[in-house]
């Protein structure tokens, strides 16, 4: 009972924190918009009484620039953390995340190819790069599964992911070096370190939908994920085809990872770190851990992006640099604690 109360209060706390940090993030930027005006601009569509005489510029900044950016941070943070959490559960490997499985690198390669071939805004308009990233991620995962899936062993899965990730990164560098254009190289550099500055409402549809479906699927299948603790044979005894379930879950992970790379580039450590923090807060039970991961990932990325915008203002740091800078040491601390406890 106390554990259930704990799960509930952690959820509530994180939701409130997310809302507060979100509003805070929307009111900060390189152009000053008074806080008192920000909330009125935000609630005006539903509560027209608060209408003031703010300029259309401020309204555009809040609604079309800062809000989509914060919401993108929420969606991407949640998606990456959820992807990491699921990957860690189904591979029983605490180091698994979209990066380790080669999905992010595959997505990056997809984007790189599209840019170098000059189809940056090509056949599918603004969706070209997201689709390329998703396909690249999926292809990388398919390659990993083809290599490692037959044996079904977790070790070969993770090692396969590592190798495919390296190959994808190497191919990205190769393509960059073969193409003469420095401009593309710069764009792709930003891609590989991640950033939310190009967030737009119209880019958010696919990732949000993927996140919602994946979240529901994860919560529904949480019971089975718990069964995996018993090992593949143990799970089979309890009526679960562990291998098939794992493949399905990993396709979900690649969807989450690929769509995240598509809108925000490669953002390191969120998928790796956040599930551990979530387990630290609410324990290892899959459903509680995954939903807390999603919330915590959202909070973490909104905060990281806020810092990325503020540290060297009015310029910006790539948010991926910041998450790695914060996430890396934090992860080491957790590793140490883990070792001492274990």
């Amino acid at each position: 009972m106390t554990s259930r109360l704990r799960v509930f209060s952690v959820h509530c706390g994180l939701l409130i924190a997310l809302l507060a940090i979100g509003v805070f993030a929307v009111s900060l930027g390189s152009v000053h918009v008074p806080w008192t005006e920000v909330w009125r601009i935000l609630v005006e569509p539903v509560l027209p009484v608060v209408r003031g005489d703010w300029s259309p510029l401020r309204e555009a900044i809040v609604w079309n620039s800062r809000l989509p950016r914060v919401v993108t941070a929420v969606v991407v943070g949640a998606a990456l953390a959820l992807a990491g959490g699921v990957a860690q559960l189904v591979t029983a490997n605490p180091m698994a995340d979209p990066y380790l499985l080669g999905i992010s690198q595959g997505g990056g390669l997809g984007v790189c190819l599209v840019l170098v071939l000059g189809m940056g805004a090509g056949s599918f308009g603004m969706a070209t790069q997201p689709i390329a990233a998703f396909l690249g991620g999926l292809l990388a995962l398919a390659a990993v599964l083809a290599v490692a899936g037959r044996s079904g062993s977790v070790t070969s899965l993770v090692l396969g992911g590592l190798a495919i990730g390296q190959v994808a990164s190497a191919l990205t560098s190769l393509v960059l070096n073969l193409s003469a254009s420095g401009e593309q190289a710069k764009q792709i550099m930003f891609w590989t370190s991640g950033g939310l500055g190009s967030a737009r409402w119209e880019l958010l549809g696919v990732p949000s939908a993927v996140l919602m479906v994946a979240l529901v699927a994860a919560l529904v299948s949480g019971r089975w994920m718990n069964l995996l603790h018993a090992g593949d044979d143990g799970a089979a005894a309890l009526g679960l085809n562990a291998r098939r379930f794992r493949v399905g879950a990993l396709i979900g992970v690649s969807l989450l990872g690929g769509t995240s790379v598509a809108v925000a580039g490669g953002i390191a450590f969120v998928g790796l770190l956040v599930p551990h923090a979530a387990a630290f807060l609410v324990g290892a039970e899959a459903r509680a851990m995954l939903s807390v991961s999603a919330l915590l990932g959202a909070v973490f990325l909104v905060l990281a992006d806020l810092a990325a915008r503020m540290v060297v203002a009015p310029a910006e740091l790539p948010v991926g640099v910041l998450t790695a800078l914060v996430g890396g040491p934090l992860f080491l601390v957790m590793l140490r604690r883990h070792r001492r406890v274990g």
Binding site: S30, V31, A60, P68, Q184, G197, S198, W201
Partner: protein
């Protein structure tokens, strides 16, 4: 008498030594040129020049040195000004990018000229020290190492240095005079016009890369009757924020184009951008395009000023 001679010699020597750094000195021991923080000595005017960037090559060609250039590299647009095109195209192109150290040495140069500091990248073994160890002098356009805002004067001073180093002083004088004359004509033409607020867009979607106040392009804009809305930003091609672009309400947008980064895509991107689309420039559809090389320290500076003035204030 002898003592007097010694005294005079010492005084002369002392005077020679006390010449402030940065001034070019010709003495019996060759021509001394200060180029981007380094003192280079030329015993004789270089006869085998390698130039590592197109815009640097164009300056040398304009000085009538094309038959002394044994190699060029890193073309920006492969479209030099028509009056230089014939001679420019006859120069062997060593590489589409920067050539390797070996490729440069193969041409047996007695001077290596760089346009951007990346030309002498030490991670690729092409730093100026390495050339010096081999007894090969190097020169770098001052834009790459300027401590104060880059302007037309930076260009004129480099042309003067080239003139001295290669012993083509008359040509340097002629080229400089011509640049000043053309730019002054534009300045007089727009003198009575109100300056137009301009946002210069280089690239970037996460954050826009634009011209800083110390970049040469800002000087070109000012002389053409424009005002860089980000002139208060320091640094070379700084990244700014989209919010600031919108808040500064540019009346006109200048798109920078270069190989692999054409202007059409940039124009479409800005027109569809949630914040920039509300600026007077986009609403009035006031876009113009300028090649990056025109805004680098190059012989095309007067072209850039004329072109910008035509775009901002109508053709002459």
């Amino acid at each position: 008498m002898r003592a007097l001679l010694v005294l005079m010699t010492v005084t002369l020597l002392a005077a020679g030594c006390s010449t402030p750094a940065g001034q070019d000195v010709s003495s019996g021991e060759g021509t001394h040129i200060r180029s981007c923080g380094r003192e280079e000595v030329f015993d004789h005017p270089p006869q085998r020049i390698v130039s590592l960037n197109q815009h640097a090559t164009e300056i040398l060609v304009a000085l009538g040195l094309s038959d002394r250039i044994v190699g060029t590299a890193y073309p920006d647009d492969n479209a030099p000004p028509p009056e230089l095109a014939q001679e420019y195209n006859d120069i062997p192109l060593l590489s589409q990018d920067y050539p390797s150290m070996e490729r440069i040495l193969e041409t047996e140069p007695d001077l290596v000229v760089g346009g951007f500091s990346t030309a002498f990248d030490d991670t690729e073994g092409r730093d100026r020290d390495s050339f010096e160890e081999l007894g090969i002098p190097t020169m770098l356009l001052s834009e790459s190492c300027a401590e104060e805002p880059v302007s037309m004067d930076t260009l004129l001073s480099d042309i003067d240095k080239f003139g001295k180093a290669m012993d083509v002083r008359d040509a340097a004088e002629r080229v400089s005079t011509d640049i000043k004359r053309r730019v002054r004509a534009v300045e007089q033409r727009v003198a009575n016009e109100d300056p137009v607020d301009v946002f210069v867009y280089d690239s970037g979607e996460q954050a826009p890369k634009t011209l800083g106040g110390e970049d040469l392009g800002t000087d070109a804009l000012r002389r053409a009757g424009g005002r860089n809305v980000f002139a208060d930003f320091g640094g070379t091609f700084p990244d700014v924020s989209w919010e600031q672009v919108a808040a500064r309400k540019p009346e006109s947008i200048v798109l920078i184009s270069y190989l692999g980064s054409p202007a059409e895509g940039k124009r479409a991107y800005l027109s569809g951008h949630p914040l920039v689309s509300g600026t007077p420039a986009v609403r009035g559809n006031r876009f113009s395009t300028i090649p990056l090389v025109d805004l680098s320290e190059s012989i095309r500076f007067p072209d850039a000023v004329e072109k910008l003035a035509d775009e901002l204030h109508g053709a002459s």
